[in-house]
Structures are given as C-alpha cells and as structure tokens.
C-alpha cells in the first residue's frame, strides 16, 4: 500500500514533524562545520587505492592466459570498478566532496567508469530519485521501469517474467542505468522532447563506445595473443560490478518496511515531511567496514537519503543520531543484515510478478485506507518536467 500523507502515516503531530526536521537540520549543520582534513585524507586514500587496484588488475591481466592470473586480475579489476562506482563516483557526483573546492574531486566534472553519462545520472538519480524518492509515478527508480515493485502498480501479464528480467537487469545493470534518464515511460507516452532524446542518445552512444573500446578492444589488444582471455576477464569484471551494484541499490528501497508514496504526498510537502519520506522510504543494511566501503556507504541508505551531499565517511556517525531520533519519535528505522534485506527484495520481486489477488500478505497491514489507483490521465503533470536542468536547457 502506498501512502498519500507522511504525517498521517507516522501519527505524529505537526509540531513533532517540525521538531524532527529541526533536529535533522542541526545534524547537517554539525557535520558541515566539522568537515576537514581527516575527511579529505579519507577520500584521497580511497582514490589512491582504487587507482592502484585498477592498475594492478590491468597489469595482472597481461598474463591472462594463466588461469590464476585471470582470476586475480579479474577480481582486482572488478573491485576497482565497484569502488569507483560506489564510494567514488556515486558520492562525488552527489556533491559530497564539493566542499573541498578541489576541481579534481567535484560533482561538476566527475565522470564515472560505467556506461551512463554523468550528466544524465545527475538528473535521473540525483534529482529525480532523490527528490521524489519512492513516489509512484515520479520516482523511476521504483522498478527501473522494468519491474513491478509495489502493489499499487497495476499488474500486467508481462510481469510474470519478473524473475528473469531481474536477473538480466542484475547482469547488465550498467546498461539499464545508462538508459534510465531517457525515461522509457515518457517515450512510450509520447511526452519526450525528441531533441532531448537525440541529445541523450548521442551522449550514451559516446560513453558506451568509449567504455567498450577500453575494456573490449584496447586492453585485450595490448595483451596480444591473449586477446580473448583478457576480454573475458574484463567482461567478467564488469558483470561482477553490475551484479554487486544492482544488489546494493535494490537493498536501498525494497526490503520489507520501506514504504511507497502517492503523488498526493508531494502536494505542499514541507522540508520536514520530505525528511520523513526519505526515512520511511529507505532501508539500511548492516555489515563490517569493508562492506560499507565497497557499497559506497549505501548500507546507510537512510542517512544518505536524508543528506545526499554530506561526505559518505560520516554516515556511520550520523546513523547513531538518526536511529536515536527514530526511537524517540517511534518511527521505523528499517535495517538488517545484507542477506536478509536482499532476500526480502528478491521475495518482493517474485511475489509481485503475480497479481495482488494471487498473493496474500499485505506489507503494510497498519494502513486500512484503500485507495483507487489513479489512471494515467488523472495524474498531475510529472514533477520531473518542472525542473530545468542542464540537459534540458541546452538543447
């Protein structure tokens, strides 16, 4: 069940909602004021580590004909790509390191090692997903336009194939992400500006081309007679990265307990209500330091969604305070071990491949309110079109 009103759902008074907002603003201010040398050292360490891993992987693969070297090189390269996409790319492009005033680690010019152009990601993810988190019909991250992830999304026989689509999406996740900002739904409805579409397709073609040239032509060619084994190693490294990022990202909003919202919630939503929606719509997972680094600290998805542009190495510290707020105000704070969160996500994907009447449980029993699902024609204009971002402005 998707919710139309965050306040109603949480049973908080208006004053309480505002107080929570003020507490969260306070946390932001404290972290902002305390950013300094240690944080810079952290990100520089990760950058150095990532580049060394990448270089070591590429070099090892010169011996890719030798199976242990193939394995080691692939593992090194795969980890380098994971680290680059998660802890570096995702977080840098959110502006988490902009405060350093360092042009080399800045959201305005970071480009990441995957097929989606950074500029498009900053729109589809940083803006659309983070502003409209879990609002059905607005947040394209709900099922990535491929999967039915909420009971409020209409079932269609095509959904029967969900487990297969999901497996394919996991394997080729970077390509799914690359197409994300095209907004397939808008194209289907004929609402997409064709000029923008062409511009975006060109950008994607350029980026995919450069990535493929590097991994599937240049490096294999460099290793000469071992062209094929290097190519398979690079391909495998990309797949490893894809499966991993897909898993981590799906754990952010789809475990049991993370709720969805309807567009009514967006009407006159205050900043405090936005905060609440982020907390209720996101889910964390638990694990050791290494796991958190390799997932770009997205095990602290709740904290990330509250403060997408605060440095990722601070989320652990922020989480203590956020958990405390949740306890005091009796708001759910969804977390659990990674395997459980991932398991619940997979279960939802399987379950929702069937129509609602075929499944029994209701993930939100506390809501008795039944709503009629809005028809497309009844929906308000998509909010995403209100924004004016560089991609749209420069066509």
């Amino acid at each position: 069940m998707a919710y139309a009103d965050v306040r109603e759902y949480t049973h908080l008074t208006d004053d309480e909602v505002d107080a929570i907002g003020a507490e969260l603003d306070q946390i932001r201010a404290e972290i902002e004021a305390s950013r300094g040398q240690a944080d810079r050292d952290y990100i520089l360490r990760i950058i150095t580590l990532q580049r060394r891993l990448a270089a070591a992987g590429r070099i090892t693969l010169f011996a890719s004909f030798f199976p242990p070297a193939w394995l080691l090189g692939t593992a090194l390269l795969g980890s380098a790509k994971i680290l680059e996409n998660m802890e570096l790319g995702h977080n840098a492009m959110h502006g988490q390191w902009d405060w350093m005033n360092d042009p080399e680690i800045h959201s305005s010019n970071w480009e990441w090692d995957t097929t989606q152009p950074a500029e498009q990601w900053k729109h589809s993810h940083n803006y659309i997903h983070h502003q409209f988190t879990n609002v059905l019909g607005h947040d394209n991250d709900v099922g990535y336009g491929i999967l039915r992830m909420s009971r409020d999304q209409k079932w269609h026989p095509v959904n029967l194939g969900q487990p297969i689509y999901n497996a394919l999406l996991a394997l080729f996740f970077e390509y799914g992400v690359a197409l994300h900002d095209l907004d397939i739904e808008a194209i289907r409805k004929g609402e997409k500006d064709p000029k923008l579409l062409i511009k975006q397709l060109r950008q994607i073609r350029g980026k995919v081309g450069r990535q493929a040239l590097k991994d599937y032509v240049m490096y294999p060619a460099l290793t000469g007679p071992f062209f094929l084994s290097t190519l398979t190693a690079n391909f495998t490294a990309n797949i490893i990265r894809n499966v991993w990022t897909h898993g981590i990202i799906f754990c952010g909003h789809f475990p049991d307990g993370a709720v969805h919202f309807t567009e009514e919630e967006l009407e006159d939503e205050t900043r405090a209500e936005w905060y609440l929606r982020q907390m209720l719509g996101s889910a964390n997972f638990e694990g050791g330091k290494l796991l958190h680094v390799m997932s770009g600290q997205l095990g602290y998805q709740i904290e990330h969604h509250l403060f997408p542009d605060l440095p990722s190495n601070r989320y652990a510290q922020i989480s203590v305070k956020v958990k405390d707020i949740c306890q005091r105000y009796d708001i759910p704070y969804t977390t659990g071990p990674l395997y459980r969160q991932y398991g619940q996500t997979l279960r939802t994907i399987l379950k929702l491949s069937l129509p609602n009447r075929r499944t029994t449980d209701n993930p939100a029993p506390e809501s008795a309110r039944k709503r009629r699902r809005l028809e497309d024609s009844e929906r308000p204009v998509r909010r995403s079109e209100l924004g004016k971002w560089s991609g749209a402005a420069s066509v």
Partner: protein
C-alpha cells in the same frame, strides 16, 4: 603563446589520445599524478620551491609549475593560487612579480599577510617548500604595451607593488625602461616591499624616478598633491594599484581632468561582508545583469527575477543542479546559516541568500 609541446607534435597528440582511450573516463594524468603530483594535466599545479621573506609580513613564493604551464605571461598579470588548509582549497589571486620567460622554470608571487586574511598569513608563514599548490593561468589586463609609452607614472600603495615590480623588472631586462615616476606608499620603511631593489634600480638607471612615501609620518599621498610628485603627471600614461579608497580618489581626480583614458587601474582587495549583512546587489556573471535582493530571496529566485537563465532541479538543496561558482562576495546558506565567501567556491543558489553584494560566475 607557444602551445605546450604535447599540443604541437602530432605523434604526441596521438599517443595522448591512445592513453586517454585506455584510462577513460579518467585521463592518463590521473594515474601519473599518483607518481608525481606535478604530472597532472587536469589542471595546473605547482610546487613551492622557496619562500623568500620580503618584509616582516610579506614573502615571495617561488613556484615551480607542473605540466601545461606556459611562462610567457604579460608583466602585470596575476595568477590564481589554490592552497589546501584543513581539507579545503582556498583560492586567491596574486600578481606575478617574476619576469616572464627569463627565469623559465619558476614563477613568483609576492604575498603580504593581511590583518584578517588567514590565507595570506598562511602563505607568508606557513608554506613549506615542496608543498603542492593548484594554479590558475595568468590573466588580467593591467599590462604595459610593448614598446612602452615614453613617459609613465606609477601610483602604488602597499602590496600593489607586485604587478608593478614585474613590469619594472621586465622593462629593465628588455632595456626598454622609459621615463618612469614611481610614487610608492607604505606604512614605514620596514613595511615597504622591494625597497632596496627599487633604490638600486633607481640609482642604476636614469630613467626611473623613485618617490617612496612613508605614510606613518608623511600621511597619504592625496590626489591633489600628485603634482608635487610628478609635475608633468598629465603627460604621463598612468598605472595605479593599491587599496580601493586610494584608487577611487585617483580615478576621480583623473576623471575631473578628463584623463581617465590614461589611467590603468588594478584592484585586488575584495570587500568582505561583516557577517551580519543580509541582502545586497547580486550580479550574475562578471559584467552581467544585477538585482537588489533582501536577505530572504534565494540567489536562484534573484536570478530568475533578473531574467537570467538559471539552472535548477529540486529547489531545496538536494540535487546540486543549481550550483554556481561564486566570483566574489559572501552568501549565506539558509539551512545552516553558514557563510560562504571563497572566490571560486561552488554554492547552491536555491538555498543561498546574499550576505552583502556578491557576484556569481555563470
């Protein structure tokens, strides 16, 4: 301008393209910079070679630029220097005091510690040789034509001497130093940068007439007394650099005599907001449109009001679509109340208001 070697050779260019294809989306420099930070070509960098004290509160920083630097700046121009302090880069502009090309491997800037300027203080007292700094290429049009006019007047206050120093040294080195009157004011002798060098230069050459003035005893050189320093000031092409009020006074004086065309002025002290200011004049792009705003209107709204094509996404400080670099002035973040006033700092226009006059780079 001679292009860097790598631009000139077709073979090197191809090699670079190949390297880029192999390191995409990074560039080869990102890896090379791990070995030597000066090998970055993403942006200009330099290494501090020497810190030479000039006075008690001023020092010359001799910087060895890394790849991509061309040494043929025009004397009188300034560079940007970005120095890291507590994890954050702070950018300032300083005039080059070195002579173009001749020294070949280094450039120098001369920095005076300002009473409230924590960065200038850090530069004068805190930079160890070997420190890596970021650089922005020389710019500015406070320059002297080549060949220079036959008669020149230089009006200098305090640290305004640095671009003048570069100009004088260059002219002397080229053997084209014309008839120059240099009126240079500082608090007292110990506070006067390059005092000895200027005296020597004046003794060595007939054409430099050096008029030092120590304002602690003699007071400021006011515009109406200019004639005492240089009776023929009206016949001279003038270059003035120093504190704002001084420049204002001389500009007014020249204007009153209909000679404003003959005065070249360089300003480099930015007025900093006092911490309580709210609202002000916001300018969009240097020389762009500007609007008066109060302390509650966000810069994004102000821009829209001024008819500027502002970029935005969420309008609530999440997505950073609205980020724009601050050229000058101070802004306040509505969420935290924190002030941001670093030149070149990116600010979120949707949640920032003006704290005094400010200019955005768009």
């Amino acid at each position: 301008m001679t292009a860097p070697l790598i631009e000139r050779s077709a073979a090197l260019r191809r090699l670079r393209q190949l390297g880029k294809a192999m390191t995409t989306p990074l560039s080869p420099h990102d890896y090379l910079a791990l070995i030597n930070p000066l090998w970055s070509q993403r942006e200009l960098r330099g290494r501090i070679d020497q810190v030479v004290p000039e006075t008690e509160r001023a020092a010359t920083l001799v910087i060895r630029p890394g790849w991509g630097w061309s040494f043929d700046h025009a004397p009188g121009q300034y560079i940007g220097i970005g120095v890291e302090m507590d994890g954050r880069f702070h950018w300032r502009s300083y005039s080059l005091s070195s002579v173009p090309l001749v020294e070949g491997k280094t450039v120098s800037i001369t920095v005076k510690a300002m009473p409230e300027g924590f960065l200038s203080d850090h530069l004068v007292n805190g930079l160890a040789p070997g420190t890596i700094v970021r650089l922005a290429a020389p710019q500015g049009d406070f320059i002297v034509p080549d060949p220079p006019p036959a008669k020149m007047l230089m009006l200098v206050g305090g640290s305004g001497i640095t671009p003048i120093m570069s100009i004088l040294r260059t002219l002397e080195r080229r053997g084209t130093l014309p008839d120059v009157v240099l009126a240079y004011s500082a608090l007292h002798e110990a506070d006067m940068m390059f005092h000895d060098e200027l005296r020597e230069l004046a003794e060595r050459t007939d054409s430099l007439h050096f008029v030092p003035r120590f304002t602690e005893d003699e007071g400021m050189l006011t515009a109406d007394r200019l004639v005492e320093v240089s009776p023929d000031w009206q016949e001279r092409e003038a270059w003035a650099c120093g504190p704002g009020p001084m420049l204002d006074a001389f500009s007014a004086h020249y204007e009153a005599h209909g000679l404003l065309d003959h005065l070249h002025v360089e300003r480099f002290t930015l007025a900093k907001a006092d911490g309580t200011a709210s609202g002000g004049t916001v300018t969009f792009g240097v020389g762009g449109p500007s609007v008066e705003v109060d302390g509650a209107t966000t810069l994004l709204e102000a821009g829209e009001k001024a008819g500027v094509n502002m970029l935005f996404g969420c309008r609530m400080g999440i997505c950073h679509t609205c980020d724009a670099p601050l050229a000058s002035g101070t802004v306040r973040d509505l969420r935290s109340g924190a002030e941001h006033g670093e030149p070149n700092e990116y600010i979120q226009t949707c949640v920032s208001v003006a704290a005094g006059d400010c200019t955005l780079t768009l």
